[in-house]
């Protein structure tokens, strides 16, 4: 059986005529929108505080509506639209801001378009994967700062937890039970892994993060391929 994983571009096209799907995409991509805006303005921005992020959200919505499949990767396109709308925003704020003529404005669009469209596809794929994975963790209630805190620094312990995650992800019954209960099947695991119960419980958040990495196909990590 061939499993088709929907690309981000396909999702965008499918979402376009459904407000709920558009809102869901925007919610998922809020961290990305913020990071693009921050990089553009060169400082940290906060939702509800900085107007630039409202501009970014509107621009992202505009990007979803106006995206044309086949011309570019969606993230490149969205990044460009956010950047341009921020320029517009600053231009309106500051009367001294250098206003470009229509021709120059078009040049800028074209120049930026060429620049962003030339980004490596792999890089865009990775970004899309990171956003999807990050959203998944957040939907499971996993706080990233906490995850970094409990992430094992010791390589051996990390490998053990990853092996456990692979075991769960690769075993249909265990995976179903995990997805339904959101709990790690400790008793079943202890048959195969001579590991102290406390240590398993302590690694809970990390193991869940690893299972989600495997099941969501987060390719940056080697975890799904056995760590090698």
């Amino acid at each position: 059986m061939v499993i088709h994983r929907e690309t981000l571009e396909e999702r965008v096209i499918r979402s376009r005529d459904d407000n709920d799907l558009v809102n869901s995409l925007i919610k998922e991509f809020k961290p990305f929108i913020a990071s693009v805006a921050q990089k553009r303005v060169g400082r940290y921005l906060e939702y509800g505080v900085d107007d630039e992020l409202s501009v970014g959200l509107l621009a992202f919505r505009e990007a979803i509506r106006s995206f044309k499949e086949g011309r570019a990767r969606f993230l490149s396109f969205a990044r460009m639209v956010i950047s341009m709308r921020l320029i517009d925003y600053y231009r309106k704020l500051d009367n001294n801001f250098e206003v470009l003529g229509d021709e120059e404005n078009q040049d800028l669009w074209d120049r930026q378009s060429v620049e962003v469209y030339q980004l490596e596809n792999d890089e865009e794929d990775l970004k899309a994967e990171v956003i999807r994975y990050s959203d998944l963790l957040s939907r499971w209630g996993i706080d990233m700062v906490e995850l970094a805190r409990v992430s094992p620094r010791n390589g051996e312990l990390r490998k053990t937890y990853q092996e456990i995650a692979r075991k769960i992800a690769g075993h249909q019954a265990l995976l179903n039970s995990f997805m339904e209960t959101k709990r790690i099947p400790i008793k079943e695991l202890q048959k195969d892994f001579p590991i102290h119960r406390k240590k398993l419980e302590r690694g809970r958040i990390y193991i869940i993060a690893m299972i989600l990495a495997i099941t969501s196909g987060f390719s940056y990590m080697d975890i799904g391929r056995g760590g090698e």
Partner: protein, 247 residues
């Protein structure tokens, strides 16, 4: 080490490495985008805030093991050849007392055994979950390496394991000025370190703000080095050089 940024905060980001390690990394504002790949220097990290818990667990583990050993000594002290001879010399009232003590001791030992096992697990986890410096391998043998550590915020301790040594340090501010408190301990009970350790604090401009060096002979578990290094400012890098042998 390469890592991909998965979340951005005001002064730091969370990134994940290809081998599945989630790290908190200091960044400049507006520098990165989610999904960007960054390089993380080994041993260069923003400190965690769980040091109080860590130290509390360590103290609890030491206390349980300490009291456990004391209890065992009390119990088995009666049954050493010398203790036995003394017991034989006692009258029957003494024997009854010994029996009562023995029963009490057996009860106490039964209660202490799981606690000691738990403490051992906690102590093992403690060492395993600390930040490890990859340039300095653990176990016996020659070590010759150096690594950089970021000074944490004032009053925020940082702990890191290099080889078999634990480095604990924090920046302290007082009326006299800014100082770095550095504590070094051996972790492996079966190994001792002979050699030298040099700690150099560099300012953000790369100038030496202060340094200390230690010549050590069979530095073993239970011993502790503790030094204050005066600093000009609270920001900078702590460069540690280790050269010697664990045996």
């Amino acid at each position: 080490m390469r890592a991909v940024v998965i979340e951005i905060h005001k002064h730091y980001c969370i990134a994940v490495t290809a081998d599945g390690r989630f790290v908190k990394q200091h960044i400049e504002q507006g520098e990165l985008e989610i999904g960007d790949e960054i390089t993380i220097e080994a041993g260069h990290f923003v400190p965690g805030r769980d040091w109080i818990k860590t130290l509390a667990i360590a103290a609890a583990a030491i206390a349980v093991i300490g009291f456990g050993s004391w209890g065992m000594f009390r119990v088995f002290g009666w049954y050493t050849p010398q203790g036995g001879a003394q017991a034989a010399a006692r009258d029957s009232a003494g024997e009854e007392m010994e029996e009562a003590v023995m029963m009490a001791a057996e009860e106490a030992t039964a209660e202490e055994a799981p606690a000691e096992a738990e403490a051992a697990v906690q102590e093992e986890d403690l060492a395993m979950e600390m930040e490890q410096v990859e340039e300095v391998p653990s176990g016996p043998g020659q070590v010759d390496g150096d690594f950089n550590l970021e000074l944490g915020d004032v009053g925020e301790p940082v702990e890191i394991v290099a080889g078999n040594l634990l480095f604990l340090y924090w920046v302290a501010e007082s009326e006299e000025g800014v100082e770095l408190l550095l504590i070094i301990e051996e972790l492996d009970p079966e190994l001792a370190f002979t050699g030298y350790i040099e700690a150099v604090v560099l300012t953000p401009l790369g100038e030496v703000a202060g340094s200390r060096s230690f010549d050590l002979q069979e530095f073993k578990r239970g011993e502790r080095l503790q030094e204050f290094i005066p600093l000009n400012e609270s920001q900078g890098t702590l460069n540690i050089i280790i050269n010697g042998v664990f045996e």
